[in-house]
Amino acid sequence: MKIVINIFLKNGVLDPQGKAIEKALHSLNFNEVKEVRMAKQLILDLDEKDEIRAKERIAKMCEELLVNNVIEDYELSTSEKL
């Protein structure tokens, strides 16, 4: 099973990379862009068929290594395409 983890800076924590991209888009006159947030994506291929169990394990991985919960949040999704 493939699980996608998107890691991004928490709401309220200034995202310097997102801000730089936002400014660049504005300089190209894409003024409808209100905000850009930069995320890091990890795709994990797990030897596990149960989605709930897989997500529990991944939550633990995020807690122990993948995410710094002082500044970062994450979202999980499954994907067959990747």
Partner: protein
């Protein structure tokens, strides 16, 4: 006085640190990241790019076997100093509070920087006066210190901020360049005192800082 300097793959300031402490008359030992046990009066986590800074700065270093020795040392109330990447490791491992983000302007900054001594009620800065301005080199891409408001307040209230930037180069909250834990045993800072330890380099102020541990 024995100083253990932990070397991870990607560490690059271990010899400068060794040079500085040898100059002060300390015995030094460089500890490879796979070594679990070691004894020292002071443990130094030097600067560099541990494990290539993959995933996040210092995220992988906190899992190194040598960190078990560092945690043991902390538990016993031993002195620990984390410089630059070492500071990031202390934050990632929870030995100090807060986290590091990319520099506000995203570029890697390598230059000399004026710093203010905020507190001298600790071994690290005991050779200085409160309010002293010192000049030290910085060299980092992720030195933008962040902590929640309640943590920042705790740092202020308990006198745990050691150094502040005079002209904030990286966006750090409250201009923070260095902090310590509440027992004043564990110190982390982004500037490099070990690179300011010889008159040949034009600056010996770092030596005066490290001398505080002797």
């Amino acid at each position: 006085m024995k100083v253990a300097i932990i070397r991870f793959p990607g560490t690059n300031c271990e010899f400068d640190t060794e040079y500085a402490f040898n100059k002060l008359g300390a015995k030094t030992e460089i500890i490879w990241h796979e070594q679990k046990e070691f004894k020292a009066d002071l443990v130094v986590l030097p600067g560099g790019f541990s494990y290539g800074d993959y995933l996040r700065c210092a995220a992988i270093a906190k899992l190194a076997p040598a960190m078990q020795g560092v945690f043991e040392h902390a538990k016993k109330g031993g002195y620990i100093l984390g410089i630059c990447n070492g500071f990031q490791i202390l934050l990632e491992s929870g030995l100090l509070k807060g986290a590091m983000k990319h520099n506000e302007k995203l570029s890697f900054i390598s230059k000399n920087q004026d710093l203010k001594v905020v507190s001298n009620q600790n071994v690290f800065l005991r050779n200085f006066q409160k309010g002293d301005i010192v000049n030290l080199p910085i060299a980092h891409g992720e030195g933008n210190y962040y902590a929640k408001e309640n943590i920042l307040k705790e740092l202020e209230d308990k006198d745990l901020i050691t150094l502040k930037y005079q002209q904030n180069p990286n966006g750090s909250l409250c201009d923070i360049a260095g902090i310590c834990d509440e027992n004043k045993k564990i110190f982390g800072l982004m500037p490099h005192p070990e690179r300011a330890c010889d008159s040949v380099l034009g600056n010996e102020v770092g030596l005066k800082m490290l001398e505080g541990f002797m």
